[in-house]
Amino acid sequence: MDNDKKPKGSTRRQFLADSARMACGVGLLGLGLGLYARHATALPPAAIRPPGALPETEFSGACIRCGMCVRDCPYDILHLAKPEEPMSTGTPYFVARQAPCEMCEDIPCVKACPTGALDHSLTDINKSKMGLAVLIDHETCLNFLGLRCDICYRVCPVIDKAITLDPQSNARTGKHTLFIPVVHSDACTGCGKCEKACPTEIAAIKVVPLYVAKGQLSAHYRLGWIEKEKAGGSLVAPEAEHRYNMPEGMQYEHGKGLSVVPPGGAESTVPQGAVPPAPTSDAPVGLPRAFQGGKL
C-alpha cells in the first residue's frame, strides 16, 4: 500500500477506501464460501455418518475433521471426505455397500470424538440411528420375486426387530407365500449390514440418511388402535351392526357377492353348506396377515 506518501489530510479517506475495498473483496469470497457450504451440507445418500452423529447441519459445525473416529474404528470402515467429494471436506463417513458398521458394543468411534459431533450420550449401539435401511427396489428383491433369500433378515444385528419377514400371498402363483422383508425404523440402526449382504448385483435394500428415508405423520394424526389400547377400550360408541338393504329374496356376502337366499334360509344366518366367512371379515382383502390380528 502506498498511502504513507499521501498528505496527512487524505490518510483517513485513503484508510476508509482501503477498508471498503478489502471488506468488499473478502466479503465476496465469504459469500462464495457460504454458498459452497450450503451445498456441501446436504449429505449424499450413499454416505452414512458414524454412530451418534448429530443432524447434518449441526454436525458440520461440530466436527473438527481430526479423523480420530477413523483411527479408532477397529474395522477401518470410516473415511474422511476428500475435497472433491460432495460433502464437508474432512468429515467422516462410510459406504454401507463397501463396508458396513460392525456395531461395536463399546462404540470406540464415539469415544474418540473430541467434540460433540458424535454424541457421547450414545452408549448403547443398538440405539444408534446412522441411517435407515429401505427395501428400495421391489422389482429386484429376491423375496419379492418369491424366493426365500432372506439374507438381509438373517444378517441384521437386530434380527426380528429391525427387519421382519411378513408373509403375503403370492398373487402370481396363487398358492405360494411371499416373505416380504419389512424394516422397522424404531429398531433399525442403519448399520448397513443388509445392504452389504444383499446378493443382487446392485443392492435392493439400501441404507440412506434418515432425512431421505423417513416420512412423518402430521402432528394432529391419531392412530385409532393405539389410542384404543392406551384407553383400554373403544373411545367411540360401538359401531352399529352393518346391514345391507337387499332386494327381497337376495343376500350379499363379503367376497362372494349377491346370491339368492336359499329356500327356508334366514336372512342373517350363514347359508348352509357355504364356507364360513373369514373371522376378520371387516378387514379388506389383501391386507398383510400381520395386521389381521385381533386388534383390528
Partner: protein, 298 residues
Amino acid sequence: MSALPHKPGAEAIAEKGWLAAHKWLLLRRTSQVGILLLFLVGPWLKLWIVKGNLNYSYTLNFLPLADPYLLLQTLLAGQTPEKLALIGVAIVLLLYLLVGGRTYCSWVCPVNLVTDFANWLRVRLGLKGGAHLSRTTRYWILGMTLIAAALTGTIVWEMVNPVSMLHRGLFFGLGFAWAVILAVFLFDLFVMRHGWCGHFCPVGAFYSLIGKFSLLRVRLPAREACNDCMDCFAVCPEQQVIRPALKAINGTGPVILDANCTNCGRCIDVCSKNVFTLGWRRGADQQIISGVPKSAPK
C-alpha cells in the same frame, strides 16, 4: 525490490561456515519433516505415536492437542467440544504463548514447506514483481471465516483450508487436495511473493494474534554491528518485522516484537555480523544497551 548484489547468506557462510549459516534452517526443516513423520508412521507402519491431524491430535493416548482457531470456529458455529479438546486447546495456547504464535507457521505447518519451496524457486528463477496486496488481508479473511462460521453454523473455512487439507490428506487420503496445494505453490511462485503465508492464510493470522504476547523472540543484541547488507531482509518471509528493531525506529528495543515474525531464525543464519539471536522478550521497550559484544553467544 532491486537486484541483490550477492546471494543472501554468502558472507555468513564465508564467516561462520556452511553448517552454522544454516543451523536454524536445518533445525526448522527437521522439525517440519519430523512432525510429518510422527504422524505418518501411524498409517505407514501401524505405529500409533500420534493419531489425528493438526486440527486435533492425541499423542501416546495421553496428550491431546487442538487447534484454537478451529475450536473458536466450532464455538461460533454454536457447538461445544468435549473435555479433551478443551484441554488440547489450553496446552496449544500456552505452548505458543511461550514460543511465539507464528512459530506454528515456520516450524509445524506443512504448507510452509510448499511455499518456502515456491519462494526458493522464485529466487532461483529470478522471478520478480507480481501482484501486491496489503498484508492485512489475512486479518480480513480471518474475520470473514469467523463471521461465516457464526452465520452458517458450519465450519466454512475447513472446506477449503489448504493447511488442514494437506496435513489431513497426507494421512487420510489426499484426493484432489493436491490441486489446491499446487495452486498455492504456483500462486506463490508466479503471482505473489510470500503470497499465501504472508498475505492470505487466516490460520497464520490467528496464530499471530497469540504471538502478540508470546515470550520467545528474535533478539538483536548486536544491532549496532549491522552493516546494512540486507541479507536478513532478503530471506525474511515477513520483511516488515525487522526494521523497527534493527534500526531502533521510535526507540524500539533490540527485540522483534511484531506478531508476524515466525521465529524461523533464518535471519540469525544469514547474518555474518551475528546481529540476531533467539531469546526472551524482556527488555523489549528499553533502548539499546551499548557495548554489547559483537559476537553474542547463541
